[in-house]
């Protein structure tokens, strides 16, 4: 096959004669390619959202949840089943026995109805230990102070308000030292958290923090904890510390066989990898669906090219009569298809990038930490698919045109 640049000129002229049809034919490819680009960009954006979230929490965290879990599946505690195997004694044991751990925070959670004067707010209640602020990155106080160690070890009725709870109850008023009621118990407000913005899954602003002992004994009537989070000292091997935490807990719970663990220990990196797997799989599935739309676009192109071959039968006859060989004719139609698909691919890429950019603007405007990502692989996939569609769906019409007999083609009515 030899390509002559003069072929391109005559092909482009042929396409120009049918501008509207050329555009409509490419539409399938335009939509397919832009869908692939958008889906892959949104997938990368969602991934960045998760990564940013983990980053905000801190990547050097180890999370301990009550209850066993499948190797890669979510622990039972996530499903809302309350398991009572983890206690504050375990937290103390980890703090004492694993020297590579800088801080451990324990959590219990429940629902709370908070009232101040005649204002009511339903929110979630977090009972935490005093080192919550050291363990969780990204939390800052706006006013006042956080719960102290003495307070978290005893039943002390003090509360730290999340930004949106404070806004709901107090508006722009300073809430410090005001007395509020949480589930009918009276608490003194000692601090106000800085607004974090609704970054991803959990709304950290719609929350009220009290001492963990108070939450367990006074509010919920339990002895267990919902979760502990441990911050690994800088430079330590997270995997190694993870194993150490596990063996400490086994000792604490008198477990010999790791298969009988009644707790789950994960690093935040592992959680990240799990989420990545899920979003990645979803992403590829959606990209496959978009690729199917490309296939449909390709069939549309083949259809129109067959019509075009039939329509220009006499022209093919003439070209053959003045000396065009079969390969000249087949190149003519193959190039025509390739130009149509490449134009469609190019417009599709531009359109896809543009729409993905608009989506990222909107999501960012809504307050999420979403990156605008166009990965080179999505562009490469788009280009390869475009050319593949052009070649495979252009081949048959081109072949049909090339096989026409000059006289029969010239006589075609």
């Amino acid at each position: 096959m030899r390509f002559d640049f003069r072929n391109y000129i005559s092909v482009i002229k042929a396409l120009k004669r049918n501008k509207m049809r050329s555009f409509l034919t490419s539409l399938g490819i335009i939509i397919g390619i832009s869908a692939v680009i958008i889906i892959m960009s949104v997938g990368s954006g969602a991934h960045s959202l998760i990564a940013n979230e983990i980053q905000a929490v801190g990547s050097d965290l180890i999370v301990v949840l009550p209850g066993a879990s499948e190797e890669d599946g979510p622990p039972a505690a996530v499903m809302g089943i309350s398991i009572t195997t983890l206690t504050l004694d375990d937290v103390k044991a980890v703090e004492r026995d694993v020297e590579e751990i800088a801080d451990v925070a324990a959590y219990v959670s429940g629902a709370a109805t908070v009232t101040w004067q005649n204002k009511v707010d339903d929110t979630s209640l977090s009972g935490v230990t005093s080192n919550y602020m050291q363990v969780e990155a990204g939390n800052e106080l706006e006013l006042g102070r956080f719960i102290t160690k003495e307070e978290s070890d005893t039943i002390t009725k003090v509360a730290v308000l999340g930004a949106s709870v404070a806004k709901e109850l107090f508006g722009s008023m300073n809430p410090i030292d005001e007395r509020i009621k949480i589930n009918k118990e009276s608490f003194r407000v000692i601090g106000l958290m800085k607004e974090r913005g609704s970054s991803s899954f959990q709304d950290s602003d719609d929350k009220i923090f009290i001492s963990i002992t108070t939450a367990q004994k006074l509010m919920l009537g339990i002895n267990h904890i919902s979760m502990m989070r441990a911050k690994v000292v800088e430079g330590a091997d997270v995997e190694f510390v993870l194993e150490k935490v596990k063996s400490t807990l086994r000792e604490q719970h008198d477990i010999d066989d790791p298969a009988e663990d009644d707790f789950t220990v994960r690093s935040s990196e592992e959680s990240l990898a799990m989420l990545e797997d899920i979003t990645g799989a979803l992403n590829y599935f959606l990209a496959m669906v978009a690729a199917i739309s490309l296939l449909v676009g390709g069939i549309g192109i083949m259809n129109i090219m067959l019509v075009s071959v039939t329509e220009s039968t006499r022209e093919i006859g003439l070209r053959k009569a003045v000396g065009a060989t079969s390969s000249n004719i087949s190149n003519h139609f193959l190039i025509q298809t390739l130009i149509l698909t490449s134009m469609g691919g190019l417009i599709g890429i531009i359109l896809g990038v543009f729409i993905a950019f608009v989506i990222s603007l909107i999501v960012n405007y809504l307050g999420y930490n979403w990156d605008f990502v166009i990965s080179p692989s999505s562009i490469i996939i788009a280009v390869v698919f475009t050319i593949a569609v052009g070649l495979s769906f252009g081949w048959y019409p081109a072949r049909k045109a090339a096989k026409l007999h000059p006289i029969e083609a010239l006589r075609y009515e």
Binding site: K13, A321, V322, G323, A324, T325
Partner: protein, 236 residues
């Protein structure tokens, strides 16, 4: 230049065999002007297609420039059509919505040689259309379209020009113009082979070959050649 011996041609369509030519012998010298005449279905068009490398023969031999061209492959036939012959068809067959210049250039696209645009201008000038070379094919009259077709047939400087009923779709005045151009080409030494069923058109040629039922029934010198002078006389 051309020598046909015992040419047979049959078409097979859905296992029905149609015999079109039954042993045609024909010799054509360089520079001749010949009209192949005959009623429709006589085989004159098929004969022209074989002569013009548009179709292959079923039996017999065809020598062109002393070379046997009886059984060439498709690509070589395409080369012969490109280099050796030019066609003028009854229905013009110009590229739609394409300029005169681009239409005339078409055979050069397939010649695999660097092309001097002057060649195209010259061909257009020889049919007197230099003032319309940028016009699109659909803006031309029938006679002008056929002149573009002649320019296109000339642009590769072929040895032979085939004209298949060149006046069939034209009014008589444009028809006369076209025939005069073809006659002028013949006078300049080009071999012109005209296929027609009209006696008036055939009279422009110096030799008239009559075909009937796939055989040549007469082959004689035309004694009363129509040319510009006699025509003008007739019109008066």
């Amino acid at each position: 230049m051309i020598e046909l011996k015992g040419i047979h041609k049959e078409f097979v369509n859905d296992e029905v065999v149609t015999k079109v030519l039954h042993g045609v012998d024909l010799k054509i010298e360089k520079g001749e002007s010949i009209a192949i005449m005959g009623p429709s279905g006589s085989g004159k068009s098929t004969l022209m297609h074989i002569l013009g490398f548009l179709d292959t023969l079923s039996k017999g031999t065809y020598h062109f420039d002393n070379k046997d061209v009886s059984s060439l492959d498709d690509d070589t036939l395409a080369q012969y059509r490109n280099k050796k012959v030019g066609f003028v068809f009854q229905s013009f067959n110009l590229l739609p919505k394409t300029s005169v210049w681009d239409n005339v250039r078409l055979p050069l696209l397939y010649s695999n040689q660097k092309v001097d645009p002057k060649v195209i201008d010259e061909a257009i000038k020889s049919v007197g259309l230099e003032h319309r070379k940028e016009h699109l094919s659909n803006q031309l009259s029938g006679g002008e379209k056929q002149r573009v077709a002649i320019a296109r047939a000339l642009v590769n400087k072929p040895d032979i020009i085939f004209a298949d009923e060149p006046t069939g779709n034209l009014d008589s005045k444009s028809g006369i113009q076209i025939m005069e151009i073809l006659q002028k080409l013949s006078n300049m030494g080009k071999t012109v082979i005209l296929v027609t069923h009209e006696t008036a058109t055939a009279k422009y040629a110096k030799r008239i070959v009559k075909v009937k039922d796939g055989r040549i029934v007469s082959d004689e010198i035309n004694k009363v050649i129509t040319d510009g002078r006699t025509l003008n006389g007739n019109l008066k």
